[in-house]
Amino acid sequence: MNQTIKTGYYGDWGGAFIPEVLYETFRELNIAFKEAKADPAFRQEYLSLMGTYSCRPTPLTHAENLSSHFGGAQFYIKREDLNHTGAHKANNVMGQGLLVKRMGKKRVIAETGAGQHGVATATMAAKMGFDCTIYMGEEDIMRQRPNVFWMEKMGATVVSVTSGTKTLKDAINEAFRDWVTNMEDTHYVLGTVCGPHPFPEMVAWFQSIIGQEARKQILNQFGKLPSRVYACVGGGSNAMGIFQGFLQDRTVELIGVEAGGKGINSGHHASRLTGKDASAGVAQGYKTMFLQNDDGQMRDTHSVAAGLDYVGVSPILADLWQKGLVRFSSATDKEVMEALDLTMKREGLIPALESSHAFVQAFKEAGELGSDEALIINMSGRGDKDIFTIAHAFDDPSWKEFIRKKGAEYAA
């Protein structure tokens, strides 16, 4: 494969495997994005929006208690949880929203798994005055009703997807089905650095704000670069976001943490780049490492963190993995709950279950570093939105009792 010619490829990965009906739409999107990217005023508009509507720059928090607890590196936490809507997803969504405005479209659609990207998109649509439809697997709607509630309250239509495994990947398929019907007035706000070109490039570009800030902040607050940077990897957008700030620094080791679910050898996980269950494939419009069987059929995946529970992974990360520029590991559900618990108790921070994966690996490795070294964990989102999942996972008796009572009240 000729890397120098093929656009939208990162080494062997990426591309745009799209139905012909979307060819024009993608052509226009590529042009619009290219122009926007080249236009300093656009980035300026984006930064100003993120600085006044969301809370950018998000802080970099020195976690002194975790540092001394592990007796190694100084922990710094990049606080994407403080974004409006509670996660890094806002960075991407608001950026695409500005692009939609530029393209003159009036309607946005999006897939969502955990609901986080759906809420972010519904929020952006409300702010920018777009119609909005969110596709969400039936299973996920059941699990993440609070997010559905907010999306609807923000004026979005949430469509329950009943095909396939009724989760994220099926919602993506369904969103594409909407798009091939309504491409004229509609933009599909893809939620992560996956999908057909130019989405990986576009989402990575918007998310790069995380790494740009983090780099400046660590130099400012710690006086030198960190030794390691940790991020969880679902589709890979928060990881790409922060990694881009340090890719040029060969002294900074970048670590992506995937969902180890019930164990990397259990068959119940969502690890594409760690473990042996994934292989190269083409689906959902792009080529990457997929969790699939020998026929090329996608497997069921599992993670306590809905946002990591996905069959594919960013083609950009697949490339960095292949080239050895990013190291990958995985964290099990159990390790994640323990890391979350410790982080709440020691730092008063509630990382999302997704983000807690990054904490797990940092906890394992902090002792390898000296106290004059720093590590950064990208806290991609806040966990308080996940109370139903978290309280359930902690098997909290008072919470169950509370829900039982509320349920009985509503049954009456």
């Binding site: 139905p19 012909e20 009906v21 060819y23 024009e24 398929n173 091939v180 689906a283």
Partner: protein, 256 residues
């Protein structure tokens, strides 16, 4: 070119002739049912059949076919079984059979292996809705070698220029998607559609197939002169589901 020749001959056989192509999802509701349905189709004059190898992520299909893909996989349908079945079918029936599937099925099988195997079992064409020519370097380098026709797809959103570009890669016929959207919804045949078909015609010498939502004799009649092949997809799947295998023959017979 096997498929080209066949279609040209068939079209030449009558005046104002229109061919019928039907679509089935392998393994749905079962290979045995597929076998019977295909027999009914061939017996009642279907000219070509596209056999969809089920895929877990049928991005470009509508709900009925999505469900059929899913159920076929739930039944345990494998790619190997589909190939074996296809071999049996092509040797039994003397019309062209094509594979319709998504690119990952070929990719995982090994693209060249898949061509070789398909050739071996008598498949004459491939319809791969998620493989634009830009992504098909390897694929398109093999179509002539194995004499398997890559069926290119036109959409109402395709510009004249794009159509001409696609035509360069096409063999056998061009599959003209009648409207935006996924499979299985009815199409309004209106002026816009006529303009679109004229644009298609001007851009290629290949015969034109029209798909998406054809379910009645009127639809087929309307297409005469405008297209060369009418594609019936979702309709027969619903028919088998609702009225059983035996309803297929009379339905097909009634279309022309």
């Amino acid at each position: 070119m096997q498929l080209n020749d066949h279609i040209k001959k068939a079209l030449a056989a009558g005046d104002n002739k229109i061919l019928l192509m039907t679509h089935i999802v392998l393994g749905y509701p079962s290979l045995e049912a597929n076998r019977q349905v295909i027999k009914q189709m061939v017996d009642n004059g279907v000219d070509l059949i596209e056999m969809q190898i089920p895929f877990s992520e049928p991005m470009a299909d509508g709900p009925v076919i999505v469900k059929a893909n899913q159920d076929a996989l739930k039944n345990g349908t494998t790619v190997r079984e589909c190939l074996d079945f296809a071999k049996e079918i092509t040797s039994e029936h003397d019309i062209p059979f094509l594979f319709m599937t998504y690119y990952n099925i070929l990719f995982k099988y090994g693209v060249e292996n898949f061509f070789q195997k398909s050739k071996e079992i008598g498949i004459t064409g491939f319809i791969i809705p998620d493989l634009p020519p830009e992504e098909g370097e390897e694929f398109f380098s093999l179509t002539d070698k194995y004499d398997i026709a890559p069926i290119m797809i036109y959409a109402p959103t395709s510009t004249d220029e794009r159509m001409k570009e696609l035509a360069k890669f096409g063999r056998g016929f061009i599959y003209c998607v009648a409207r935006k959207g996924v499979t299985g919804k009815h199409t309004d045949f209106d002026t816009e559609f006529n303009d679109y078909m004229q644009r298609c015609r001007k851009s290629t010498d290949l015969p034109l197939a029209v798909g998406f939502g054809i379910s009645r004799r009127e639809d087929v009649d309307y297409l005469r002169g405008r297209a060369d092949i009418a594609v019936i997809g979702t309709k027969t799947i619903n028919l088998v589901k609702e009225q059983g295998v035996d309803a297929v023959g009379p339905f097909i017979a009634g279309l022309r």
